[in-house]
């Protein structure tokens, strides 16, 4: 990471503000209607790091898909810097729990995906892909195929594929959910470092309370389906943070209580 810090910084546009205004979303399940999000309103500051916590199946991923523009909401408004979200855009990139790398492309070509789709070519493409791969520590694996990577490396490649677009909003859906605990801890710090350097707004779903408190400035706790905002916790701690910080322990007890899991320790 020391060497990565010396690399030229990519020219990220500053993070964007996200507005979620009375958003509801329901799925049509062959006649039956499944309400997943109900009247949710949240304002997210540009450049902030917000974590979403909530019970499994409550609609967190659905909310991220709405912000990404992959689906329009059933009701309400979603805004980026005050303008309605009309569809997906490389300004708002998603990293999923599965790396979903294209198995027929090398790591390099996977990372170049967005630039290829946007018609960025030549020297600029090479430069941006090279920088992104170096940033996630995969410069030496440019020619490897996804099946040759470990889980952590694959997720790093997915991260490179996202940041190469110089997004203003990075959307992370349980990005570290499938990694072993050591890789996870290492990548938590790397993600925070990346966010701090680049300045994009980060919206991350996690099922790990501690991870949310270690990484985010703000933790939104959602209710059972249909998702409503239960609590909005400010994690008023400077970075780098310490896992053993008593304030984190305090917030953790609070968050677990809000999720209906009363900490008995």
């Amino acid at each position: 990471m020391v060497s990565a810090a010396r690399l030229s910084e990519p020219a990220f546009a500053a993070g964007a503000a996200i507005g979620v205004r009375r958003v509801s979303h329901r799925f049509d399940l062959g006649g039956a209607v499944l309400p997943v999000i109900e009247g949710l309103s949240v304002e997210i500051e540009p450049g902030s790091f917000v974590a979403l916590l909530g019970p499994s199946g409550c609609g967190k991923s659905t909310l991220l898909r709405l912000v990404a523009g992959l689906e329009p909401p059933s009701a309400g408004q979603l805004l980026v810097d005050g303008l309605p979200i009309a569809g997906p855009s490389p300004e708002r990139v998603v990293v999923f729990q599965d790396p979903t790398l294209f198995p027929w492309r090398t790591v390099w070509d996977n990372a170049a995906l967005g630039l290829e789709a946007q018609g960025v070519r030549g020297e600029e493409r090479r430069e941006r892909v090279g920088t992104a791969l170096a940033r996630v520590g995969l410069a030496g694996f440019a020619n490897a195929y996804p099946h040759q990577l470990s889980g952590g490396m694959a997720q790093r490649a997915a991260l490179a594929r996202a940041i190469v677009n110089q997004p203003r909003v990075l959307i992370l859906d349980e990005p570290l959910g499938k990694l072993d605990s050591l890789t996870r801890i290492a990548m938590q710090a790397e993600l925070v470092g990346m966010w701090q350097r680049a300045g994009f707004t980060t919206l991350m779903v996690t099922h790990d309370v501690e991870e949310a408190l270690f990484m985010a400035q703000r933790v939104l706790v959602l209710s059972d389906r249909p998702a409503r905002l239960v609590a909005d916790l400010a994690v008023d701690l400077p970075y780098p943070r310490h896992r053993g910080d008593p304030r984190i322990a305090e917030l953790r007890r609070q968050a677990l209580g809000l999720l209906g899991l009363d900490a008995t320790w």
Binding site: L70, V94, F96, T100, R105, G114, A117, Q118
Partner: protein, 334 residues
Amino acid sequence: MSSASHVQQIAAPLHVAPRFRPHALLAFAALLWFAAAGVSVWVPDADDYERTALFALLVGAVGAVLAAASLAEPALPKGLAARLRGVAPWLAVLPVLLVGWELVTAKFDLLPRPFFAAPQSLLEVFTDDWRRLGESVARSLFLLLGGYAIGAAVGFVAGVAVGWSRAVGYWVHPVLRLVGPLPATAWLPLAFFIFPTSHSASTFLVALATGFPVTVLTWSGVAGVNRAYYDVARTMGAGRAFLVLKVAIPAAMPSVFVGLFMGLGASFAVLVVAEMMGVKAGLGWYLQWAQGWAAYANMYAALLVMALMCTGLITLLFRARDRLLAWQKGLVQW
């Protein structure tokens, strides 16, 4: 890989003078080929056979090549040597089979004659009738490859369209469902009636036989693409053309190749029937012509050539697949 060569570097000085030893099984195989040549030279033929000497010469030549290979085996390139060792058991069994065939036919005349040909009779077909046989191969290949290319291209495009577009799927699916399972040869009378030439009719039949499996498997490949791939590409600014050309099609390629293999198999069957019934050229026609004249040696020779042609084409397709789908697990070759 680098670690393996490293080990070799360390290990090399251990046997400073590698012991020179011919490969035993290859040498044994060479001996058997020589023996087979000897049998055909010294055991007298039961009848007049024109090519016994040439046959013995060729069999002996194989023995000579194998003898040389068994001596040179340690010095041969690694890949070639490994392949030779791999086929060595076959190389040892083949001359035994050849001698057996030779003895029951040419030497002792134990099998009913017109139906069972001696090996030198097949050889005679190749030396005396190569012009007609060669032309038949050319005509067959021309017809097969033309029809296959058309069928594969149309099937691929149709499969992608059906897999991608709900509207196209709505209209094409029932047609495929109804017409697809029909064997292409069932169209034969109609095709020869509709098309202006028997060649175009046969090309159509081969294309039809190829097109159906290619369409269905391309379609199922495209329909089965992980939706998350589209989500990823869309958030990064991919348009429709990008989603089809750079996501759906590459993801569907393994399935497309299954269709291409099935189509190739089906096209062989149709080719032979079309040549027998319609175009009066090619290997299928040659087979029928040989049967009409009770020229069984010609028939066996044509069957052998056809088998070689089919397996050659299948091998080519395997090569193409291994190259294009090198990214697939287990297929990766460095």
